[in-house]
């Protein structure tokens, strides 16, 4: 097992090398740590956007690297993201009618 190469350079047909995956996992863990820290440290007005952005980053990283979407055929991305975007759009619109965001 090659444990030295950078994740990007070792992207193969099936994704990253073991070290690459471990690296991604460490980044994810670090972000999770940062997320948890918002519970203890006051982020002020940045609190909500920061949390949401970190959530999206984690989500996209898992999907792109662990689920190989980044390396796979675009059709898979289309199928999955269609569902995801539809869900976000439709449910946010529904919540908006409940004055959820204002």
């Amino acid at each position: 097992m090659n444990t030295t190469a950078a994740p990007e350079s070792h992207a193969t047909e099936h994704g990253l090398s073991t070290a690459g995956y471990v690296r991604i996992a460490l980044i994810l863990a670090a972000i999770t740590g940062l997320e948890v820290s918002t519970y203890y440290v006051d982020f002020g007005r940045l609190f909500l956007p920061a949390l949401l952005i970190m959530m999206v980053i984690k989500f996209v990283m898992v999907v792109s690297y662990f689920m190989h979407l980044k390396f796979d055929n675009k059709v898979f991305s289309w199928l999955f993201y269609t569902g995801l975007i539809l869900a976000v759009g439709v449910y946010c619109a529904a919540l908006a009618t409940f004055k959820f965001f204002g």
Partner: protein
Amino acid sequence: MWFTLDNLATAHDTHEGAAHSSTGLSNVKLGMWLFLGTECLLFGGLISTYMLYRGRVGTGPRPSQVFDIPFTSVSSFVLLMSSLTMVLAVSAAHKRDDRSTNLWLVITALLGATFVGGQVYEFTAFYNEGMGFSTSLFSSSFFVLTGFHGVHVTVGIIMLLALRGMLKNNKVPGSRAETVEMIGLYWHFVDIVWIIIFTLIYLIPA
């Protein structure tokens, strides 16, 4: 849920293999991604229900009164790590490294079981603090959302162990690597759902 289980065995159903398909992609994988796309709408609905109802507490505790952030952070971390071990299993399967595949499958299942154990603990503790299933809108929607997620994790564990058993007996139909990969996709999906739940439900107060 069972649909995913079906992927254990559908590869051989597709008499026109991946190589001959119009898109050059495997039927099972295409179906799996589509299924995950539809799952987005399922969890989206449950999350929205929770978001709408999280502040509606007539009796019983409010979210911030029961949530135990340090504990849940560890939970999230455990599930995240299980994603890593899962991806290692998939990677090993592609390299035809049976020993590592088996090992990481079992480790993933164990981490998953720990996560579910944590969830059972959490539910029991909440119940004792006066938050039953019917106590308030918050409690109903919380239990249904996290319970659905927990059921997904449990199904995932069963699939992992079943796959492990089938690998042992050489009963995995079709390409083994692909079967492992399919269960991997399902497992990661469960993880990303938890990434959202952890942030939206636990970290952002009502």
